[in-house]
């Protein structure tokens, strides 16, 4: 993949995804402001905009956060994951609109710099009801800015996936800060029980889904039984044609694919965003990541030209109908061996493939 920065590689799916997202956001704002003007006739336009953008960004952050665990629990939700980064960037933009309007509304009319005013106008950090909740929102916005600014594949490639993912893990910190921002801010003044119920439901949903997904993943990490350098992954007949079974070998997951009557084992970790290759399928002869369509030759672990990503492969042997995978991987992009009394390995030529190699 080229490391040259380039604009979004639009395709039909991304246009539909973003169209639905922006349409829903516009509808939400119109309904919020319309109902606000109806039921709170004394509220100013600025107040309605501040609250409209703020609640919209907070709701969108919930959606962003539940997509990941939903996809871990059921692959039916994978289409939501496809363009999640655009959802995240839009969340930052709407959150920024909330922050900027609030800064002008409450901090721009004095003789102090609005940002300085934000930090010094309330320093009651030891009081829950009077806590300077604005600072929590500002910190969360700062985290979301860093995430939005580094969301493009250019940064993913240059920072490397582990560093990029570590940076983006801070979205959980941003979420905790924003829960605090809402609880210590608007919910201290607004005593309508529905607001507390809505926030409580949101927190429960996000936490419960992440915990459920985390424990499901932990169960899958249990080591496959291994002996003499090979781990027993599954029976060959358990692997559907052009699909995979996932096992754990030497602490990391291995995807064992079956295609054309042959069995191939590769690292389960896609080089793009560390997506679970074993949950993908063989398309046009290539392992295709279920997240963004990055592809790898199952025999070598190398992406078809002109792409350059490579994943480690594992030697495989079949014994008494069982698939055994060598516990030590081959270097990324190198052809794996397949041995065993049950079958001889045959090769099939596969053509190059296309994929979404884009962008945020």
């Amino acid at each position: 993949m080229s490391e040259t920065y380039r604009a979004v590689g639009w395709n039909r799916q991304k246009i539909i995804y973003d169209g639905i997202m922006m349409g829903a956001a516009a509808l939400y704002l119109m309904v919020f402001i319309g109902l606000g003007a109806l039921f709170r006739p004394n509220a100013t336009a600025e107040t309605l905009l501040i609250r409209g953008f703020g609640t919209l960004a907070f709701v969108m952050l919930h959606v962003v956060l539940i997509i990941g665990p939903l996809c871990r629990i059921s692959p039916k939700f994978l289409p939501l994951l496809y363009n999640r980064r655009h959802l995240g960037v839009a969340t930052f933009i709407f959150g920024s609109a909330h922050g900027v309007f609030a800064l002008f509304q409450f901090h721009a009319l004095g003789n102090v710099n609005p940002l300085v005013s934000l930090l010094i106008s309330n320093t009651r950090y030891t009081s829950i009801p009077d806590f300077p909740f604005q600072v929590l929102g500002a910190l969360a916005l700062l985290i979301l800015f860093v995430m939005a600014a580094t969301s493009h594949d250019f940064w993913l490639k240059n920072l490397t996936a582990p560093v990029w993912k570590t940076i983006h893990t801070f979205v959980y910190v941003a979420y905790a800060l924003l829960v605090g921002h809402v609880l210590l801010g608007v919910l201290q003044a607004e005593t309508n029980i529905l607001l507390a119920v809505a926030l409580g439901t949101g927190i429960f949903l996000v936490v419960a889904l992440h915990i459920t997904a985390a424990f499901k993943e932990a169960r899958q990490d249990e080591e496959s039984e291994s002996s003499v350098g090979f781990a027993d992954i599954c029976a060959m007949q358990d692997i559907p044609e052009n699909r995979a079974r996932i096992g754990t070998v030497s602490g990391e997951r291995v995807a064992v694919f079956r295609t054309g009557g042959e069995v191939y084992a590769v690292s389960n970790v896609c080089q793009h965003q560390n997506g679970p290759l074993g949950e993908g399928k063989i398309v046009d002869g290539c392992i295709t990541c279920p997240w963004h369509g990055f592809q790898y030759d199952p025999k070598t672990g190398a992406s078809p030209p002109p792409f350059k990503e490579k994943i480690p492969t594992f030697d495989v042997k079949i014994e008494e109908g069982r698939v055994l995978v060598k516990t030590i991987p081959n270097p990324p992009g190198s052809r794996a061996g397949m041995t065993g009394p049950d079958r001889e390995m045959t090769r099939a030529a596969n053509g190059p493939n296309s994929r979404d190699q884009a962008d945020p």
Partner: protein, 49 residues
Amino acid sequence: MIRSIRKRHKVIWIALAFLLPSLFVAALALRHEEPRNDGVPAVASEGAR
């Protein structure tokens, strides 16, 4: 996801599972009525938070 990231994710969310509900309960339990000045028009006090 790689294993170390999965482990970190699990630890973070177990911590948040305790932290967020505790914050939720504390923030709602300790809130107090803001003093109101009925002499001030509602439009001036709206949106203070």
